[in-house]
């Protein structure tokens, strides 16, 4: 299998974890999984890629445009976290897993978290999970 979002969903359904079996909680998780896997991932990847070109002294037109769009998406995430601890509600789900690694790179991407306190708290809440630590340490970070 390929496509990270599809793999997350597959593992959630296989294990019966991190995704409610039915009801509103399930729909919310899928909604934010798609948002994380398409909007956030794509935009952060463009910023990431263009920053790499900038560092290599290559043309990186439109970096500002994509960074502005990424900042707008951070605002959407911060907004939904106003009323809940996790993207889909009270429970941690695969939707959080799809967006977290990109927000974790906010510094490298030149994004400000100070005006987004709820996103900052969410980043830490998830970052503190032992499984997040294990998952981000293996393989060792080379990027």
């Amino acid at each position: 299998m390929f496509e990270s979002g599809a793999i997350l969903l597959y593992i959630a359904e296989k294990s019966g974890q991190l995704l409610a079996a039915d009801g509103l909680a399930r729909v919310e998780a899928l909604k934010w999984l798609f948002f994380g896997s398409s909007q956030v991932t794509h935009t952060a990847m463009q910023v990431h890629y263009l920053l790499g070109r900038k560092a290599a002294g290559e043309p990186h037109d439109n970096l500002k445009v994509y960074a502005g769009e990424l900042d707008r998406l951070y605002g959407i995430l911060d907004g939904v976290l106003a009323s809940r601890d996790y993207l889909a509600g009270a429970e941690y789900t695969i939707a959080d897993i799809s967006a977290w690694p990109w927000v974790d790179r906010h510094q490298a991407h030149g994004m400000e978290l100070a005006p987004r306190p709820r996103l900052r708290d969410w980043l830490k809440r998830i970052g503190d999970r032992p499984a997040t630590r294990r998952g981000t340490d293996i393989p060792p970070r080379g990027d």
């Binding site: 299998m1 496509e3 990270s4 597959y10 509103l24 798609f34 398409s38």
Partner: protein, 235 residues
């Protein structure tokens, strides 16, 4: 009863087709994204990312109304609601989700950027400012087309030998390929698949509803709404 908020764009088209395929009763509502309808408080309450498509299912989970955005999530929700176009388990289900996500994370954004640089930005900015973006996203588009053509060389549909929400998600992005510098003649398997989907009664019906919606002519005001200050103003 379902309310569908959409406009004549590839992502909007997916949901019209899905609703026609599943035979669910719905009311379409036009959200003119070039006039800024997507920023109305009523629409933002349904779709906080100010993007179409979005739906409200008055008979959602627990019999309560459900508001939903992100076209992939909408297709998935309607498939689970009706038990159609997404197998319940096993490899077939995994394959549908794989190619649906491939559309959401790859085809949609990359083809969309190709449209942006080749059509919209090309009319506004000098060549040297758009050349890089146009080349990058046009190359990405042809790379993705090669992946698609290979997949369809061995499979009737994206997920295998059955039609699914993955095909519904990809099909609208394969209309008017010349806008993205693509010639379907070079991708015979995609062409064969496209013609097959394009002829489905539900697809014809879904497309028909969107006929007559004007194709984007971006004047200054519309540009500002889609890609300028109005888009990025803090809300």
């Amino acid at each position: 009863m379902i309310d569908l908020y959409s406009w004549a764009t590839p992502n909007g088209r997916k949901v019209h087709i899905m609703l026609a395929e599943t035979g669910l009763d719905y009311t379409p509502h036009a959200v003119d994204i070039h006039a800024g309808d997507q920023f109305s408080p009523e629409f933002l309450a349904i779709s906080p990312n100010n993007r179409i498509p979005a739906i409200v299912d008055r008979d959602g989970p627990g019999g309560k109304p459900l508001a939903l955005f992100e076209s992939g999530a909408i297709l998935h929700y309607l498939a689970e609601k009706t038990g159609q176009l997404l197998p319940r388990e096993g490899e077939d289900r995994a394959r549908v989700m794989e190619w649906l996500m491939f559309q959401m994370g790859g085809i949609g954004p990359m083809f969309g950027q190709a449209n942006h640089f080749r059509i919209y930005a090309a009319k506004r900015f000098p060549e040297e400012q758009i050349a890089y973006g146009r080349e990058r996203y046009t190359s990405e588009t042809s790379r993705l087309y090669r992946v698609m053509d290979k997949r369809l060389a061995d499979n009737l549909y994206f997920a295998g030998d059955f039609y699914s929400i993955a095909d519904i998600a990809i099909y609208p992005w394969c209309r008017n390929p010349e806008r993205r510098g693509v010639d379907h003649a070079e991708h015979p398997n995609v062409l064969r698949w496209f013609n097959q989907i394009d002829a489905r009664p539900a697809v014809i019906e879904g497309n028909k509803i969107l006929e007559g919606v004007p194709r984007a002519q971006l004047d200054d005001k519309a540009w500002d709404i889609m890609f300028g200050q109005a888009q990025y103003q803090k809300r």
